[in-house]
Subunit: 343 residues, 2 copies
């Protein structure tokens, strides 16, 4: 990127609370980042949302007259509605008018639009959605992929995910020597289902992948792994389960704290409780990266709040700033080696 | 069972902290339950543990001269070591000298021994391990199966798991009209991988199964489902992940509370914190039921503490008291209907 700031196309109409939370999140993002944001959607609705939430010279509106609903069939909707907010946002990236795309709308449609318009990276047969989970080591994250782009995956796709994840972890998340694990139900090479047993062999024999072994369910959040690869079915179940557990725990918290001894001064507890909430709350960490397409694309939750949109935009901005696409292209041309510390 | 108390064979040598935690857990169990417990293992070691932890007339020792290690190949170890603690405990159930079996040892070996000696229930091709998870509704649990007995499952196996789970939920967990869900990555019938799409059809068309639809990762703990069926790979990842999340949250808790404002009187907070811990701590809920074999068999974690062993024994006792095996046999003879409230 050099010295110019990233231009990020944000689907202003996608998500359960669009355009309000999207616009509010974009405003938060431009306050902390040097990025330019293109809000793609119905100009009237986006302007009305801007009036409610504030404005910034770093925000522009790009009109899109259509919307893809959450229950439409992804591929046909993308083809039928070129003027949808997702379609227009992707087109901006394709034409080089934006460097990245963020959408909290129909994730299947975002993926289909990206595949159709941006294409795949060389060497990648299927793109994967990477989810970033907090670990029990403060400040340390783990990239889990795939969290929902593919089901009934093949071993060589998982091998490709491992490569994508390792490069992403190194160049965007800043991990010097990323450790890649394979999500499995035991530690040993021969444990697992047909997919994982065959994938283990591929990963073990690929010198380009810093594979350290199987990661069991209990290891995902341990901080021992930087990247965990899995079939999109398992990853999606895990992602949604993790979010729900976070919420469940926060509810238990609230229920029990509402009955706390009346002599406890809750004011004094507030900073501690808010730190605990922040560390547990998975919503803050929302936003998955669509890895393997020839463009930077961040898929946010449909239920995203402004803070999630802000963090999704932050993620997109980092991927652009750190030239992840160039790194991925170089890698497939053999120009860089994963173990060199480029961060 | 009528008026006689359940006789439960407990593998005293299985588990990371055996025989101490096993013996301690058995002692706790006989203090709260009318059950008789047969501690199966090396008499000298079990007696030494009893000397450390106490004694009870409801405990007997049954000698077993061998142990199956955690890293042995399950089936061959079971065949090679008929005098292992798992082997002897299973044999007691086969001969009618015990009504149930509890082991925190090698779960594959426990399963293999149960299959070899006790056989399968009619109509069941594969047994499943059922894991019981707490939900966000206080006091409500959800039975997830399979959590690890099978991988690369077929649709009709999942259908059989659904039947087993529903009967178990109704007769042992006391749910009047159990709601059965299929773990999946979307709500719609056509969502998912090949396995879940085909299983959905079977479940929907089986009038004996109270199937209410797909359960996404976020729904597992919602309390909306009483039984959730899934392939053993996914279930095992989920179970181990859930346990780790519980531990992670408790660690975050401890870290943050150690830095709380010194003016807060921690003594007053203690009852609240211990209630929160109890609700979050998955360890308390440890113990999976091996469903589908012709006998009552509870598989506990290798890392089980005394409280987990106690709760595993409690589970076995309830399954015996409520005559789960008779209910399962009746069901497959068509003598009972799932919707009658038998509890």
């Amino acid at each position: 990127m050099g010295s110019t700031s990233a231009r990020i196309a944000v689907d202003a109409m996608g998500g359960d609370y669009a355009p309000d939370t999207i616009v509010a999140g974009a405003l938060k993002a431009v306050n902390e980042l040097p990025a330019k944001i293109l809000l793609v959607g119905d100009p009237q609705q986006v302007e009305a949302a801007l009036e409610r939430h504030g404005s910034s010279s770093a925000l522009d509106i790009v009109p899109a007259s259509d919307i893809i609903g959450m229950h439409e069939e992804a591929l046909s909707a993308v083809k039928r509605k070129p003027q949808s907010s997702i379609g227009v946002a992707t087109e901006l990236v394709k034409r080089g008018e934006a460097d990245a795309l963020v959408s909290a709308g129909h994730s299947g449609a975002t993926m289909a639009a990206s595949l159709l318009r941006l294409g795949r990276l060389p060497g990648i047969e299927r793109p994967a959605i990477g989810g970033i989970f907090p670990t029990m080591v403060p400040g340390k994250q783990v990239l889990v992929l795939d969290v929902g782009a593919n089901v009934d995956t093949r071993p060589r796709y998982l091998e490709q995910f491992a490569t994508l994840g390792a490069i992403y972890s190194q160049y965007v998340l800043g991990i010097g020597n990323p450790k890649v694990g394979l999500l499995n139900i035991g530690e040993e090479a021969k444990k697992g289902n047909d997919l994982t047993i065959r994938t283990y062999e591929l990963l073990e024999n690929n010198p380009q992948i810093p594979f350290v072994g199987n990661a069991e369910g209990r290891d995902v959040l341990s901080g021992d792994f930087d990247v965990v690869v899995c079939d999109g079915f398992v990853g999606n179940v895990l992602l949604k389960f993790a979010e729900a557990v976070g919420n469940t725990v926060l509810q238990i918290f609230q229920q029990e704290l509402s009955q706390v001894d009346s002599r406890v001064d809750m004011e004094l507890l507030k900073p501690t409780l808010s730190r605990i909430r922040q560390r547990i709350d998975y919503v803050e960490h929302g936003g998955g990266l669509l890895l393997g397409v020839n463009g930077v694309c961040v898929i946010s939750h449909g239920s995203s709040q402004a803070a999630s949109i802000q963090s999704a935009i932050r993620l997109a901005n980092e991927a652009v700033e750190r030239e992840i696409l160039k790194k991925l292209h170089d890698r497939y041309r053999g120009d860089n080696e994963l173990t060199e510390d480029a961060v």
